[in-house]
Symmetry: C2
Subunit: 183 residues, 2 copies
């Protein structure tokens, strides 16, 4: 493994928001020159693949302001400070789908945009969905619609770009691969 480390000479905080922070670091490059690196700091997130008893997948449709349109995605949400990813996954599952579970399996984790952001997503799967008797509230600025699809239907949503984000695309390939391993 080559040492390409970029040492920070000076770090300038540009923005500290509700969701993201932004900083610009002046760094020393491996060749001794200097450059600037823009970094979006994010608290990290979880996503959950919820599979129902009749082998459908639960998704949420929501408006994504950065894209100025709706997307259909697997349930997901940001880590709150000090919260363990599995606790976040359970909370987001409950808030967004109205189901809870007694078993979350860890699938994988990945950085979404390592070139400019430190966001990591921890991905879980559950096949043990239990309807909540009392529904949980969403965040006050959150509006989502629950959608239940077969894997084949979800793959059609990819074709029409109603599903169009990395974590959901990964989840669908993962399910397709699991299904092929079983058969």
């Amino acid at each position: 493994m080559k040492n390409f480390e970029e040492k920070t000479i000076q770090s300038t905080k540009i923005f500290d928001g509700k969701v993201v922070k932004l900083q610009v670091d002046e760094v020393t490059l491996p060749n001794g020159h200097t450059s600037k690196r823009e970094t979006v700091k994010h608290p990290g997130a979880v996503a959950i693949i919820p599979i129902t008893k009749d082998n459908k997948i639960l998704f949420v449709e929501q408006y994504r302001k950065p894209l100025e349109k709706n997307l259909v995605e697997i349930p997901a949400g940001k880590l709150e400070e000090g919260e363990k990813p599995e606790a976040t996954a359970l909370r987001e599952l409950e808030e967004e789908t109205g189901y809870t579970t007694d078993h979350l399996s860890f699938v994988t984790s990945f950085y979404t945009s390592p070139g400019f952001a430190d966001e990591i997503i921890h991905l879980y799967l559950t096949e043990n969905l239990i309807p909540l008797e009392v529904k949980k509230d969403l965040d006050e600025d959150e509006f989502v619609e629950l959608i239940e699809l077969t894997l084949e239907e979800a793959e059609q949503y990819v074709q029409t770009e109603r599903i169009h984000d990395a974590k959901t695309a990964y989840a669908l390939l993962y399910l397709r691969l699991q299904g092929m391993k079983r058969t």
Copy 2:
């Protein structure tokens, strides 16, 4: 499809950098209340899955300042203004691997972090790698090492988190699924 549109009341530009821009929009929510949305604007990117004649995959290892560590990823890069994704893919393949190609297949595209960023990645695959006689220069602040791995080796890199980003994780599942379809 529900109308969850969030109309912008006021948009404030916070930062205009080399790679990202940041803006905060005050919006009207579907319930009539107002809220703020932080959006990172990104030019979009491409990624390429380069497969060699002996069925290995080419990766690049590089230091990722937002994570303060090296990652091994499929070759990728940002769209330049007015550049078509396929042209970017060819340029990045040439700069980062020293190979060119006469055929890029489009695999898919996805938004990496639709909650806070508009970055989209266009993913291509090529099996027709042709060594460049004259190597291309990388960007002056870019330092990468070329790594050639079998799919099985790359999957081990996922286990040890040397491969740990969404586009590369997606690419490996995609190749595994294609391989299983063939056999």
